[in-house]
Each structure stands twice: as structure tokens, then as C-alpha cells.
């Protein structure tokens, strides 16, 4: 269903994985090149981080909306954006990925996912 979305984002240099995740924590579709990652488990965590961040935004900024969530570790990043009212789109990248480029690809593809759900 989302093969094209996933393939498009994986074209970006430094992107190691992509997942379309329902806000209920269900992995709808995803691909990661590191086989040690339990993608289904990470999907649930990503959905929880996204939802909890929304709650933080609501408490602090009085605004229940988020453009993007970036988790930065010395070994990589996980970037998550909303993809419509029922899903989020998340990517796993190298630490030195071109964030601007990833952002463009994510936003573009999040709209595609949103239109399909």
C-alpha cells in the first residue's frame, strides 16, 4: 500500500529505515536495513512518543499540534511527522544525515499517506 512512499524516502542518503505507523501503535508498513531492530516494537514506541509529545505541546504551548519530532542519539536519529489523523511517518537515519532534505521528503510523503488513509 505504501511501497512507493517507503522507496521514495529510502532514496535519501543516510536514511536507514522508514515506517508508517498507526497512532494506535500498529506498524502498517515499514522497512529497516538493520535486522536487529524489532520494527513492530519500535512502531509502538514511536506512536507513544508522538502522542506524548502532543500532550506536552498542549500543556506547554496550549497547542495540540507538532510539526516534527526528532530523537537524536550519537548513533542516529529518528524523525517523526504526522501523516493524517490516524498515522505517523517515521524515519531512522545516520547521525550526519541532511536534515533539511529528510524534512522535505517526509513532509511530501506524509501528505501522500494521509490522503490514502
Amino acid at each position: 500500500m505504501f511501497e512507493n512512499v517507503i522507496a521514495d524516502i529510502l532514496r535519501v542518503d543516510g536514511v536507514k529505515g522508514v515506517a508508517v505507523v498507526s497512532k494506535d501503535g500498529l506498524l502498517i508498513e515499514g522497512q529497516a536495513n538493520d535486522r536487529t531492530i524489532d520494527v513492530e516494537n519500535v512502531a509502538a514506541m514511536v506512536a507513544t512518543i508522538y502522542g506524548t509529545s502532543l500532550n506536552v505541546s498542549k500543556e506547554v504551548f496550549h497547542e495540540e499540534a507538532i510539526d516534527m519530532i526528532t530523537l537524536e542519539s550519537p548513533k542516529g536519529k529518528i524523525i517523526t511527522v504526522e501523516a493524517g489523523e490516524s498515522a505517523v511517518l517515521a524515519v531512522l537515519t545516520d547521525p550526519k544525515v541532511n536534515l533539511g532534505l529528510v524534512r522535505i521528503y517526509l513532509k511530501r510523503n506524509a501528505q501522500k499517506v494521509a490522503s490514502m488513509l
Binding site: L26, A44, Y50, N55
Partner: protein, 160 residues
Amino acid sequence: MTEAKVVERMNERSEEMATKVNNLILYGIYRVLGAGARGLGNSIGEELLHAMMEEYGLNFEGSSDPQELLNRFTEVMVNTFGFAERGEIDVNGNKVTLKLDNPMDLYALQLLEKKGMKPVLYPMANAIAVAIKKFSGKNVLIKGINVDEKHVEVEMMILG
């Protein structure tokens, strides 16, 4: 009151208390995580479905029809699990609707509504979503949870 009656009443009260405590735990999770609680839904649904299959006799063997599969789910949920007074699951194309009368978690959901929090997680619906994925390979999204005085209605959508 006979000793047997006292024990029976104590057991009933323990069950009531356990239900109330569980509802308050759910409420506490919502209060801190807000919409983040929603992300827990699939994992909770997996565990609930597992318990219903392993401990409460839910069996999907010999059925590939989604409506039949969900009728069995409802039977175990209501008659064996005792989760609600009455339950109904309708499949209409890619839309699935779960309707429950007086479910056990109604208190928690009403408490949330009173505090102005929108319910985003419904374990029974999450278990249904996991069952559909497990037995038909299709993903299910929970689109809405509606609560009134005595009922809960959950709207779901089957993808693909």
C-alpha cells in the same frame, strides 16, 4: 448473614475494587500521556487477544469470514470474559463498528470525559484490530471512540 454469604460479598467487593483500581490506573495513564496513551493500544490489544485465546477459549479455527470471526470474539468477550452486558460487532465493507452496553471500563471513560479528556484507546477494539491482522493480514485503524451514559461505540477501518 451466613459465612458463605459474607465470603461471596467479600469476593464481589474485591472484584469491584479491582475493576475500579484498573480504571483509575487507566485514568492515570491518560492524565500523563494524553494522546500518547493511544500508542500503547496495539500492544495491549495483542496481550488481551492472547489472554482471550489462551485462557478464555477464544478459537478462530475453521473461520475465514470476518463477521463470523468477530461474532466469536463478541461471544467470548461478553459471555466468558463478562466485559459488557451486551456486545455487537458489525462489518460493513471496510468499516467495523463495536457496540457495547455497560462495559467494565465505562467508569474510566466517563471519568475521562468529565475531566475533559478524549478517550483515544480502547483495549477491546485494539484486540479486534490485532485479531483481524493476525487472521486476514489486514491492518485496522481505530477512527473514533464514542461514549454515552451506558454505551461505548468504537469505529474502525480495515485498510487495503
